[in-house]
């Protein structure tokens, strides 16, 4: 049986871009807005664009946070994209302090302003990998990916960081911890390298 992938639909972000990329890859995927339905999928993608607090509130209001928690506890591979990566962290300092899903021991902090550094970090930036992993197999070190974010993930455990980029400092770009994987950039908008990363999530992990 083919792996079925749920794209979590909680009212934040351009899910269709993720869906289009999975269709292009030939993967079987569905947008899922009913928390109870999540159990029927082997893998989960948590996308997201927008504000952290709004996103957590929507996850809680819909009960999606508990459904995700159950799938995480069961060891299902989960991929967080952009805001989805940040939601996996303990807390965010975006507009106050807000609790996240708490799966990764990390804090979401503003990118430190510096002269000539435009915020948000937007555009194509190269990613260096800290180690080999099936999740980044076939992607050359230094490949450019498309980023749009004003906040970054600061991990307590450096071994959670699988890839970094440089923007006013070294920022976490790819995470990997147990069944969890995440990208701060948008793989669905990062052409060949991005499709490869999504394909690796579908096939290799």
């Amino acid at each position: 049986m083919k792996t079925r992938i749920a794209i979590v639909d909680y009212g934040m972000g351009n899910l269709w871009s993720v869906r289009n990329a999975l269709v292009e890859l030939g993967a079987e995927s569905e947008l899922v807005s009913q928390p109870a339905a999540l159990a029927g999928f082997q893998k989960i993608i948590l996308p997201g664009v927008g504000a952290f607090a709004d996103a957590m509130r929507l996850l809680r209001d819909t009960g999606m946070d508990r459904a995700l928690e159950e799938r995480h506890a069961a060891g299902a591979p989960i991929l967080g994209v952009c805001l989805g990566m940040q939601l996996m962290c303990k807390r965010s300092l975006e507009d106050g302090q807000h609790q996240g899903l708490g799966w990764i021991d990390a804090e979401v902090k503003p990118i430190a302003p510096a002269p000539g550094l435009k915020i948000p970090h937007m555009g194509w930036n190269s990613v260096r990998f800290t180690r080999a992993s099936p999740f980044v197999a076939g992607i050359a070190d230094g490949t450019d990916f498309y980023f749009v974010h004003g906040y970054h993930v600061a991990c307590a455990d450096p071994s959670d960081v699988l890839g970094t980029c440089e923007y006013g400092g070294t920022l976490a770009a790819v995470l990997e911890r147990g069944n969890l994987r995440a990208a701060q950039f948008h793989p669905e908008k990062s052409q060949r390298g991005g499709l490869q990363l999504l394909g690796n999530f579908v096939e290799n992990v």
Partner: protein
């Protein structure tokens, strides 16, 4: 390192790609926009902008359909604009697969809606397109001068929630003499958001001039339709001049 972006622009009228010369769109380029996108994907373009320049508001639904077809094959950021006059239509374009909304006349006619869109979808989603002529910003597809100087207009757009400026000059549009560098330079210097230069590219050196004037991204339309592997050639030219660009795609 963050790269300078190369952006391909598709000007659409009634679903067909047209050539724009000083905002007149008489020459239809007879090919399917989806085919154009597939070429741009192969040629490593960094971003795509699609503008609906039809003078009929009735073109909106058809344009959203084209966006939907294009987005299925577009794996780079996709910005779309034209006739965004209400929140429902903005939402329908995003649901059709667009990543960013390009607004122009809205900045003059409904600044409150501009603010509402920026709050709902985020500033990163809002691209303010500005057309300049005779030292002022012009809206409504080049027909209505605002009486406001370009730098002031751009600052106002950012104040209303624009995350990016898409800069065009009516007299340079399709005129093959390069960007309006003087105005571009002033706009870039006055803002802390990225500026996309557009309008007038006839040779790759024009793009280099745009970057040197301070643009974060350089865009062109017509030249990409008539040159094979155009975006790769443009990137090679920029890279040889020392500009950091993303290198990917098939070799030209």
């Amino acid at each position: 390192m963050l790269k300078k972006r190369l952006i391909a622009v598709l000007i659409l009228r009634d679903g067909a790609v047209v050539q724009s010369v000083r905002f007149k769109h008489t020459n239809s380029i007879h090919y399917d926009p989806v085919h154009a996108i597939e070429c741009f994907n192969k040629w490593a373009v960094d971003e795509i902008v699609i503008l609906n320049v039809s003078r009929e508001a009735g073109s909106r639904a058809g344009f959203a359909e084209v966006v939907k077809r294009i987005s299925q094959k577009c794996f780079v950021p996709l910005s779309v604009g034209g006739w965004i006059t209400d929140q429902d239509y903005a939402r329908s374009l995003l649901n059709a697969g667009a990543d960013k909304l390009v607004v122009n006349t809205l900045l003059a006619d409904d600044p409150a809606l501009m603010g509402a869109l920026a709050r709902r979808f985020g500033r990163q989603c809002m691209v303010a397109s500005m057309d300049v002529q005779n030292g002022q910003a012009v809206v409504d597809r080049g027909r209505r001068p605002t009486g406001v100087a370009p730098v002031e207009w751009a600052k106002r757009a950012v104040g209303l929630g624009a995350g990016e400026i898409f800069f065009n000059s009516i007299d340079h549009d399709g005129a093959r003499k390069g960007y309006d560098l003087e105005t571009l330079r002033a706009v870039c210097a006055a803002l802390d958001v990225p500026v996309i230069a557009f309008g007038g590219v006839f040779k790759w050196d024009h793009m280099l001039e745009g970057i040197r004037a301070g643009a974060d991204a350089v865009a062109a339309a017509n030249i990409f339709h008539y040159t094979e592997h155009a975006t790769m050639k443009a990137k090679r030219h920029l890279a040889e001049a020392g500009v950091a660009v993303r290198s990917e795609g098939q070799r030209a």
